[in-house]
C-alpha cells in the first residue's frame, strides 16, 4: 500500500501533461500533416506557426493587450484591497459583516449575467475597447478575492505590531506602507498570484468589452477558430504561448504554492 502511494500523484500528473503535450505537438506540425492523419509527434517539425504569430501584429498584440489589462487589474485589485482588508482585519465598523459578505457574493455572480450590462455601461462612459475597461471589469471578482485573501494574512499579524508603530510615533500611512505592507509581503504575493490567474484565464468579459484596440489573445484565438477554419497548428501555437506567462508566474512562486493555497487561513 505504502509503496504504490506515489503512483497516485504520478498518474495524475501524466494525465495533466497529456493534453499539454498534444497542444505542443500540434503547434510544431504543418497544416498538411495535421489534416493528413494521426501522428503521435511532429514528423515535419516546423516553427512556421510561431513565426506567424510573432510577425502578425493582430496576433502578438493580443498578448500585449492581455498582459496589459491583467497587470493593470492585478495592481489595481491589490492596491485597493490592501486598505480595505486592513480595515476588516483590525476594526469593527457599522455594517462591516454585511459589507464583507456582499463583497464576497460578487465572486458568485456568473460573468454571463453581467456581460451585456457591462457592455452597455462601459460603452456609455466611453471606455469600450480599452485595457482599462477589462481591468476594471475583472475587479468585480478579483477585488473581493484579494480582500478576502489579504484579510486572512493580515489577521495572522499580531495587532501589537500596529500598536508598537503608533507608540513609536508613526502616522498611519507611514506605518502602513513602511512596516505593515512589507510584513505581509507573502500575502500580497499570493493575492497578486490569484488576481493574475483569474484575470488571465477569463475570456467572456474580456471579449465582450473589446473589439480591436484592446482585444485579448484569447479572443483572437476564437476568431481564428471560427473564421480561418482548420488552422489548428496556428491555434495550438497560440494556445501554447498562453501557457508561458502562467508557467513563469508559477516558477516565481514555486516555494510558496502550498502556503499560498492556504490563503493565509489555515
Amino acid at each position: 500500500m505504502k509503496r504504490v502511494r506515489w503512483l497516485v500523484p504520478a498518474l495524475y500528473i501524466v494525465f495533466l501533461m497529456v493534453p499539454i503535450y498534444w497542444l505542443l505537438a500540434m503547434s510544431f506540425k504543418t497544416t498538411n500533416e495535421i489534416l493528413g492523419g494521426f501522428s503521435l509527434w511532429p514528423r515535419q517539425f516546423t516553427l512556421d506557426n510561431y513565426a506567424k504569430i510573432f510577425t502578425d501584429p493582430t496576433w502578438y498584440l493580443g498578448y500585449v493587450n492581455s498582459l496589459t489589462y491583467v497587470v493593470i487589474n492585478t495592481i489595481l485589485s491589490v492596491a485597493v484591497a490592501l486598505p480595505a482588508a486592513y480595515a476588516f482585519s483590525r476594526y469593527r465598523f457599522l455594517g462591516d459583516k454585511h459589507l464583507f459578505f456582499w463583497l464576497l457574493s460578487n465572486r458568485m455572480a456568473p460573468p454571463a449575467v453581467f456581460a451585456l450590462p457591462f457592455f452597455q455601461l462601459y460603452s456609455a462612459i466611453g471606455l469600450f475597447d480599452t485595457h482599462i475597461a477589462v481591468a476594471l471589469a475583472h475587479c468585480l471578482f478579483n477585488v473581493p478575492l484579494a480582500v478576502w485573501i489579504l484579510e486572512g494574512f493580515m489577521s495572522g499579524v499580531p495587532r501589537e505590531l500596529d500598536e508598537l508603530a503608533y507608540i513609536d510615533g508613526y502616522p498611519f500611512w507611514r506605518f502602513f506602507l513602511k512596516i505593515f505592507v512589507p510584513a505581509i509581503a507573502a500575502g500580497i504575493g499570493v493575492a497578486a498570484f490569484f488576481c493574475f490567474m483569474f484575470s488571465w484565464v477569463e475570456l467572456l468579459l474580456a471579449k465582450t468589452l473589446t473589439s480591436v484596440v484592446a482585444k485579448p489573445i484569447a479572443a483572437t484565438m476564437t476568431r481564428t477558430a471560427s473564421t480561418s477554419g482548420y488552422e489548428l497548428g496556428l491555434l495550438a501555437a497560440a494556445g501554447s504561448l498562453t501557457i508561458i506567462p502562467g508557467a513563469f508566474v508559477i516558477y516565481f512562486v514555486r516555494n510558496y504554492i502550498a502556503k499560498g493555497f492556504s490563503l493565509g487561513r489555515v
Binding site: 500523484p9 495533466l16 492523419g37 476588516f88 469593527r92 457591462f118 477585488v143 508557467a247 502550498a258 499560498g260
Partner: protein, 289 residues
C-alpha cells in the same frame, strides 16, 4: 486577545473597494433588474411588464432543461473532483524536491486561459486526428463528441476534472501541511490505523480548506461558460447547453433582453442560495453545542 476595536473611520479604508465594486456590481445589476421587468420593441422604448419574464423563464422548458443539465454537470464535477483531489493531496510527498515538482506541475492547468483549455481538449478529442479521439476509436470505441451527447458529456467532464482537480488538491494539500507533526505522532502512539488517522486527524483539520474548495468548485462549475462553448458549443443539439451558454445565447444571440435579464437574476439567486446552503451544511457542527 481582546476584541477588535470599533472605529467608524475604517470606512474610509473600505471606500475605494466599495466604489470600485459597486460601480461594477450595482450599476449592471440595476440594468439587469430594469430589463427584467420591461418589454422593448427596439427604439429604446420600454414598457413595464412586472414579473412576466420571471414566470415565463421559470416555466419555460428550455430554462428547466438547462438548469437540470447544469445541476447534473456540477454534481458530477464535485463528485469526482473533491474525492480525487483529496486522494491526490494525501498521496503527495509532504516535503522535498518531489513535493515542489508536484505542486508546480499541478498548478499549470489553473493558469491556462479557459478558452485555451477548451481548444486544447477540442484538439485532443478530435475523433480522427486527436490523440484521445484517435486512441479511443483505435481501441474499438465508437467515439465522436461532436455527434454523440454521451461522448460530449464525458469529454466535458474529463476536461473539467483535468482543469480543476488541482485546485481541490492544492487546497487540501495546504490544509494537510498545516497539521502539526504532534497529531501524527499522537495517532501513531495511539495505534491508529491509516483510515482512523484520515477520519479523525486529517479530515477534521482539512475541513476549512475543503469548505473553501467545495464552495469555489461549486460556484465555478455552476458558472462555467468558456470551456464548453469552445469545446462543444453547447452541442450536439442542446445536449451540453449549460445555463451560462443558454443565457448568452438569449442575451447576445437573440437580444431578448427581458427574458435574459430575468434569467440572469434567477441564475444569480440560485448560485447565492446554493452557496449559502453549502456553507451552512459544511460549517454546521462548528457552533458550540
Amino acid at each position: 486577545m481582546s476584541a477588535k476595536p470599533v472605529n467608524q473611520r475604517a470606512w474610509w479604508l473600505v471606500l475605494p473597494v466599495l466604489l470600485l465594486v459597486a460601480f461594477n456590481a450595482v450599476i449592471p445589476l440595476m440594468t439587469v433588474v430594469n430589463y427584467s421587468v420591461q418589454e422593448t420593441f427596439g427604439d429604446n422604448k420600454f414598457f413595464f411588464e412586472g414579473v412576466k419574464w420571471y414566470s415565463e423563464v421559470v416555466n419555460s422548458s428550455r430554462f428547466q432543461e438547462s438548469l437540470k443539465r447544469q445541476l447534473l454537470f456540477t454534481a458530477i464535477a464535485l463528485a469526482i473532483e473533491v474525492p480525487l483531489g483529496v486522494a491526490i493531496a494525501l498521496a503527495m510527498p509532504r516535503r522535498g524536491a518531489w513535493a515542489s515538482a508536484c505542486l508546480v506541475l499541478m498548478s499549470m492547468p489553473l493558469l491556462i486561459p479557459w478558452n485555451v483549455v477548451g481548444a486544447m481538449w477540442n484538439i485532443l478529442a478530435l475523433p480522427d486526428i486527436g490523440l484521445l479521439g484517435w486512441t479511443l476509436n483505435k481501441l474499438g470505441f465508437d467515439y465522436n463528441y461532436t455527434r454523440q451527447p454521451v461522448a460530449a458529456w464525458a469529454t466535458l467532464v474529463a476536461m473539467d476534472v483535468w482543469h480543476w482537480t488541482s485546485l481541490v488538491a492544492l487546497l487540501a494539500y495546504a490544509g494537510l501541511s498545516a497539521i502539526p507533526d504532534a497529531y501524527y505522532q499522537a495517532a501513531k502512539i495511539d495505534g491508529a490505523s491509516g483510515w482512523a488517522v484520515f477520519r479523525h486527524v486529517q479530515l477534521p483539520k482539512m475541513k476549512h480548506v475543503l469548505t473553501i474548495a467545495v464552495l469555489l468548485r461549486f460556484m465555478d462549475s455552476f458558472m462555467i461558460y468558456t470551456e464548453p462553448v469552445v469545446l462543444t458549443g453547447g452541442g450536439p443539439g442542446n445536449s451540453t447547453t449549460l445555463l451560462s451558454i443558454d443565457l448568452v445565447k438569449i442575451a447576445l444571440g437573440q437580444f431578448d433582453l427581458g427574458p435574459a435579464a430575468a434569467m440572469s437574476l434567477i441564475y444569480f439567486l440560485i448560485v447565492l442560495l446554493l452557496s449559502w446552503v453549502f456553507y451552512r451544511v459544511m460549517t454546521l457542527d462548528e457552533d458550540p453545542a
